[in-house]
Symmetry: C2
Subunit: 470 residues, 2 copies
């Protein structure tokens, strides 16, 4: 039986093993990771080469068929989930999973866009180097998606976002042309840096098919302290001290409130109270270096000694063993798990000018309480790079509809305060479908106009990832 | 006496003290730093505020008058020098020289575009932080120009180009609209990162009026070694070892050939031969850290010991005193001065995939000698970031016209080899007028087409810096 219509053309051009047209087989490709979004599609294409991606896009462009690029589907904003149009074609990069090269002289890694981030991290490690991009979903997320959404993760303070690790990009434009920007040069000043446009564009300008990334030296030793601080302001003063004294060794500077600790102690088995008494908040600081654990430990103890003396922190535990290091990290890492156990909560992935965090926290709390009076706030995040997880949970005894009822007003309250302090409504995850409304409400209209005009340059027929971002 | 014509309109809008219309006063603004380029202009505008820049551009755009933005005029490619049209208006940022803020918690510096780079470096230093962008012309160059040309300099290996230090940009579009992207956020994933387009655009999209930059911790201690290597290949093996062992402390990895050393010993007073015998080439390595000079010195000695053992280098001098450190650096830094003393030479600021440098050097030499048989090659540069200064000097006894006669063929030979190895014809300085022909010859036509379309979005009337880059 030969395929009819447009799917038939895809099969003819790319082969039956590359194109899924059976509705029941398409089904799993229509929802996002959390099952919040659900769309429709007439076909799923799984190319193995850049040439096949080009052929698919050319065909879709000629027939004005919308294309939804899909990496690991872990972005949490619905950016890789098709909208409700039955005409959509989902373009999955999962078969493009070849590492093209690793070079420990130039310190570069070149790979297909469909490579799983965790696999790339392990390959770099085996070669004696580090790919510092690291995030919770790294064993599912694909590097092309990481760049298309400019992913963040736990190492941003020291190594920057995905953008800062990208040396080159290969991409296919909607008309099927291959953009060859897969270079590994550290310095190249020959005109506009076009690859920057693809990074963070969420599949609206083309499809990333290959990436060239910077590698860093392996960090072999770590030292961790948990410091009790009386306020977010004290935490920032501590940041200033530690950054100046430890310089590039500073790997993590994570803040969480006492409410977060309380939740972890309540819900996570084996979690232990770190101090004799409770404090306003806590900062977990990690240093890392290429060698010499003793020197690193001594440096950390020295700087924490100064912090205690200057009353920037009230108490501190320096990890003496790896087990202790891991149990300190657990107090921070298990906050999300404790929240899940606690019940429904409203999440906000925001960032702020770092020095404004204390003022923001005070005024945002007031504003959120004005729309959700009895709510419980769980605020934690990467203070060192201005990124806050600003999570709001229902009051004890609230009805089941609390989250659905409060979601809109609470988000509006949080985003309004973010705007007031010059922050961003999306620090890490991007816009996708989830924040499209808020994005268009809060973003400077002139910036949106320029983005739309650039979109027009790359994708004049508007086939790329409709309903996302722009 | 009231001004006539368009200059009169500028005076009316901006005030007589902001607009220069007297031809003799315009004169000094019509040439580049080296006096290679010379253009024409009907007026020079020196605004003090972003609003005045906006007013000037709006007026020029309405009257289709070409605008040439000018920072410190130190780019060496003629990018800030007007072309031969008498209609040009030169827009100098020199009066916009206010530091807007320095923050040692967020580690940011916000400043007007006309601030002198050296002044910003000193201001950051006084605040206990480092602005790592550092280059020979830093006491003349302006930060807006540094970003408009994506400047490099001596710290790129560790801290990246100007682009990597930019958190935000304020710019004025040709139509007079103010692009407000002057944020200090470390994380912001809300659409295309538009500021990236202004960086490296050489004034062809708009005028940068303000910048927000990242600051880094102050490096308080340094350690330097000069290693003798038998070949560029050995130098790269040494780079691999040092990078892995010293990690983020590696601040400079500079290579120069024995021919360069010979020139310095011949022309620079007080320069001393560093080793008992001469070698094929030399690598100057600098480590830097926030504290603990002894530990840094011990690390460097340890890694050089391993390098000698593994025969990656043939000999080495580790600096024991600051005076010794400075005299080692002089051997590298005085190469340019020695070349000047030696007579006319042809310079090429190129970059290569780092691992390809040895192969490039061998085959470029052959090709250059095929067009300039007896020439002398002086090759040095920042091996750690792939940037080579590939300089070609006339043979002993050559006639006075040698440079003029060979310039074209030699550049063609060098750029052809650069293209063959996937390098860049402009590592640091950009295109300007100087490399416009070579840029259009060597750059992928599809990239140029996209650049032209983006130029059309920002500058539909084509008033911005005509004759440069595109």
């Amino acid at each position: 039986m030969s395929e009819q219509g447009f799917p038939g053309k895809l099969v003819q051009a790319l082969g039956a093993d590359t194109v899924i047209t059976d509705p029941s087989e398409i089904e799993p490709w229509l929802t996002d990771w959390r099952g919040v979004y659900r769309g429709r599609a007439q076909a799923v294409v799984r190319p193995s080469t850049t040439q096949q991606v080009a052929e698919c896009l050319r065909l879709c462009n000629d027939h004005r068929v919308p294309v939804v690029p899909r990496g690991g589907n872990t972005g949490l904003c619905g950016g890789a989930t098709p909208d409700s149009s039955p005409a959509n074609v989902v373009l999955s990069l999962d078969r493009m999973n070849r590492i093209r090269s690793i070079d420990t002289i130039a310190n570069t890694l070149v790979a297909d866009a469909g490579c799983i981030l965790g696999n790339l991290r392990r390959a770099a490690h085996e070669a004696g180097r580090m790919l510092p991009l690291s995030l919770a979903a790294e064993d599912s997320s694909q590097i092309g998606g990481n760049l298309a959404t400019n992913a963040g993760g736990v190492n941003v303070l020291r190594y920057g976002m995905a953008r800062e690790l990208a040396l080159g990009i290969e991409a296919v434009l909607p008309n099927g042309e291959i953009f060859n920007g897969l270079q590994t040069l550290r310095k190249d000043n020959t005109g506009y840096d076009l690859k920057q446009l693809f990074i963070g564009s969420e599949g609206t300008l083309g499809v990333i098919t290959g990436v060239a990334l910077k590698l860093h030296p392996l960090m072999q030793v770590r030292a961790v302290v948990l410091a009790a601080v009386e306020s977010p302001r004290k935490a920032l003063e501590l940041l200033r001290l530690v950054y100046g004294a430890c310089g590039p060794r500073l790997q993590a500077f994570e803040f969480f409130t006492d409410e977060c600790l309380g939740l972890v102690l309540q819900h996570v088995e084996g979690a232990q109270q770190p101090f004799a008494q409770r404090h306003g908040g806590y900062v977990l600081i990690e240093l890392a270096d290429t060698a010499d654990e003793q020197a690193l430990q001594a440096l950390l103890e020295d700087v924490i000694g100064r912090a205690l003396e200057e009353e920037l922190c009230a108490d501190a535990v320096v990890s003496a063993t790896l087990a202790q290091l891991e149990s300190l990290w657990r107090l921070r890492e298990e906050i999300s798990e404790a929240q899940r156990a606690d019940g429904p909560h409203l999440k906000h992935d925001i960032s702020l000018p770092i020095e404004q965090i204390p003022a923001f926290m005070a005024s945002a709390e007031q504003r959120v309480r004005s729309v959700a009076p009895e709510c419980r706030l769980f605020v934690f995040g990467h203070f060192g790079d201005g990124n806050l997880h600003y999570n709001v949970s229902r009051p004890a005894g609230a009805d089941r509809d609390w989250a659905a009822r409060c979601e809109g007003p609470v988000a509006e309250a949080v985003f309004a305060e973010v705007a007031r302090y010059g922050g961003s409504i999306s620090a890490e995850h991007g816009i996708g479908q989830l924040k499209r409304h808020a994005f268009h409400h809060h973003k400077d209209p002139m910036h949106i106009r320029l983005m739309l005009q650039i979109k027009q340059v790359f994708d004049p027929n508007g086939i790329m990832n409709p309903g996302k971002l722009l």
